[in-house]
Amino acid sequence: MIEWFTIVQVSVAVAAGLLCVILGLSGRKPTDLSMGATALVELLLIIQLVIAIASPAFGNNPSGSLLEFYIYLISAVLLPAAGGFWALIERSRWSTVILGAVCLAVAVMVYRMNVIWFVQGA
């Protein structure tokens, strides 16, 4: 894991989550904006996955449990895709709220991943 990238990622996920929740509660159906924000969160997760796979080769090893780290990471990667897809089956404002909820959950999970990598067991 790379700390500055993780900070960027959590910030983007929180911002995207709040944006989608606010848009949804104010009655907007999913638009390019809310879907785009969720897609950005997903893209950053995939980059995070690549970083995680490559890191040990550069001597950057987790201080905590690698198994726990990957369970969080894989769950997080699945969330925006699954949540986004399921939300779009019914295109209502609640679908936009779902996108927001998923992004906020990703933010929490990435924060936990950061704790596992840098703090847990250190």
Partner: protein, 136 residues
């Protein structure tokens, strides 16, 4: 319980704001399951009681998620049972974790009323019950 002979067509409860509830349940189920799998594989002997509870909670969250999505009176009842179980669980374990902290050397989903999960385990069953009452 009396049933109408002309039962309304079974509709899924997975619509509108109910979808938000279900997705939060699904996320909690995913989180609790993932965590309990790690705990059992890596450190079950450290706190068997707390980790068994974590696993039980995870299973109940999965069943509740399915029951909220699936239509029909049977699943409706399953949803009530699982959600009630969750509320009782989070209140009981939450109280025990304050009174007998030595039982909970390692935290479970429900320790300290679900504080490690932003109190979502405490709030969610209440919202679930309100939702179920409105959407037979």
């Amino acid at each position: 319980m009396a049933h109408d002979t002309l039962a309304p067509p079974t509709r899924t409860r997975a619509r509108g704001i109910g979808r938000v509830l279900i997705i939060v349940y699904a996320i909690l189920a995913l989180g609790a399951t993932g965590r309990s799998v790690v705990e059992i594989i890596e450190k079950f002997d450290q706190a068997p009681f707390a980790y068994t509870l974590s696993t039980l909670a995870a299973v109940v969250y999965i069943v509740a998620t399915v029951a909220l999505i699936a239509p029909g009176p049977v699943w409706y009842r399953v949803a009530w049972v699982t959600i009630t179980f969750e509320l009782v669980g989070v209140l009981t374990v939450g109280t025990l974790s304050l009174l007998l902290p030595e039982l909970f050397a390692k935290p479970s989903v429900w320790s300290w009323y679900g504080m490690g999960y932003l109190f979502i385990p405490l709030v969610l069953p209440v919202l679930g019950m309100l939702w179920l009452r409105k959407n037979r």
